[in-house]
Amino acid sequence: MPAIVLQDLTLGYDRHPAVHHLDATIPSGSLTAVVGPNGAGKSTLLKGIVGALRPLEGHITLAKSRVAYLPQQAEIDRSFPVSVRDLVAMGLWADIGAFGRVRAGHADRIAMALAAVGLTGFERRSIGALSGGQMQRVLFARLLLQEAQVILLDEPFTAIDAKTAADLMALVQRWHGEGRTVVAVLHDLDTVRAQFPDTLMIAREMVAHGPTASVLTPANLLRARQMCEAFDDDAAVCLPENRGAA
């Protein structure tokens, strides 16, 4: 039972497609990187999978399991007076919901999550007082607590220091080891080559999907780079007959 199935998926804004007629199957338990040039529709794809964006055409089928999502620019109000511990504890939502009490067992898990991201001792700090890297680690700790089967990460290592990135990557590998499906949008192709067995390369359309070595070829990279970034304001309506035409 694959984790995610995309069928003829078109996602976009204001009728302009950001992702055009995509077909792909992400197997359960895989560790897949999503790569492509800027504006290729990678973030859009994740938003569609998690349900924040409705498809213009086509289907997304998710296996019945918990999905956790780390957006590229979290719309978190950093001036809101919430402590690190409280924000991380929100990851327990699936267990305690809106009214459940945070019990001793939960408190242990929170402590372990914070330790896993190296933020022990930060429990009472206000989220407004954290650096970018620390904030990202807090969000990872929350992801840990969510115990989701499918984890979607949108540029999780952009704009954070190398040590933090390495620590968080280790967590990702841990998830992979636990059999969870992880899909991550990344820009650093070295990390992709080193750490990710599978890759999905898109440039508003499918370019290649499969084992990383066979996807990240110079030919594919060139094809992706040639994709047009701007929307064509004079584009005609996309009809099934016209598909395949440039």
């Binding site: 998690v50 349900g51 924040a52 999905v67 956790a68 999502y69 957006p71 979290a74 719309e75 978190i76 109000d77 001036s79 809101f80 007076p81 919430v82 402590s83 409280d86 924000l87 929100m90 939502w93 699936a94 919901g97 809106a98 009214f99 206000s126 989220i127 929350r142 969510q146």
Partner: protein, 288 residues
């Protein structure tokens, strides 16, 4: 000293009732005010004071100068404005401040139209808005009920509400409660405001909701702390304002709000968190 502070309340029933009314609104409305301030919706109170006009007008048309009918009408109009603006904020590209402004203006215009077309010259809002010195039993019961409802609702909705303010994306991804929380909060705002208008008038109702919350910002770091400080400030302002009104013959509503304002000004200057003094006269820094 006792003469100054306690005797007025012992001697006069209206002073005791005014105090009870103020305490009810200090406890009930200030937590709402704290959330409004944190969500950058502090000007909602004034918008709501105008938005309820068509409801009051229809109530007047149906039942004459009946406070009950006008209050219910006002509640309905206020709810409609709040919920519609929340709906537009969630479903479209427009943000909360603009959608609230748009709807309250439409509502106000509708109210003025209804009144003008029906040609009566009673200033409805002037009649509807009460004063703290005239709290009868009905008004006190109304205020205390609203306070109870508010605390109950906040207790139930606290966690989703905090999340809805801090990280709405996350809440939407893990729960269906996002919409209920948002609209529930707006409903509480309208409830507290309209009940407050009817019992105490606009100035006191909005003033005690927002000023203590604004002052609390400079004293506490967590929400619970802010709410506690806000309640203290509101109660202190009420007592002091009432006593000033009694001893110095000042109008009561403005006296209470000006005391709250003074406490706010003091907080802006000398509060421990993020005030002028904290930012421009910092204490020596701690060891690393």
């Amino acid at each position: 000293m006792i003469d100054l502070i306690v005797t007025p309340f012992l001697d006069f029933a209206f002073m005791r009732r005014a105090l009870l009314g103020c305490i009810a609104i200090s406890i009930g409305a200030t937590p709402i005010g704290v959330f409004l301030m944190l969500r950058r919706m502090s000007l909602t109170g004034d918008a709501m004071a105008h938005a309820i006009l068509p409801g009051a007008a229809v109530g007047f048309l149906v039942s004459g100068l009946s406070l009950g009918a006008m209050t219910i009408g006002g509640l309905i109009a206020g709810m409609a404005v709040a919920l519609l603006s929340g709906f537009v904020t969630r479903m479209t590209a427009l943000k909360e401040d603009a959608s609230m402004a748009a709807f309250y203006l439409i509502s106000l215009a509708g109210g003025v139209l209804i009144i003008s077309v029906n040609g009566n010259s009673v200033d409805l809002l002037h009649v509807l808005f009460g004063t703290v010195l005239a709290l009868n039993d009905d008004a006190l019961i109304l205020l205390c009920s609203i306070t109870t409802i508010t605390w109950f609702a906040l207790a139930v909705l606290f966690r989703p509400l905090v999340l809805e303010c801090a990280d709405p994306q996350f809440l939407a991804s893990v729960s269906q409660l996002s919409a209920i929380t948002h609209f529930g909060f707006l409903a509480l705002v309208v409830l507290n405001l309209v009940a407050g208008f009817q019992a105490l008038g606009t100035l006191m109702s909005v003033g005690l909701m927002i000023l203590p919350a604004a002052a609390a910002r400079f004293w506490a770091t967590g929400i619970a702390g802010m709410i506690s400080v806000a309640i203290l400030v509101a109660v202190a302002s009420s007592i002091t304002g009432l006593l000033l009104s009694y001893h110095a013959s000042l109008p009561t509503g403005p006296a209470i709000i000006l005391v709250a304002g003074a406490l706010y000004a003091a907080s802006v200057i000398v509060g421990p968190q993020g005030s002028l003094m904290a930012r421009y006269l910092p204490r020596p820094h701690l060891q690393s």
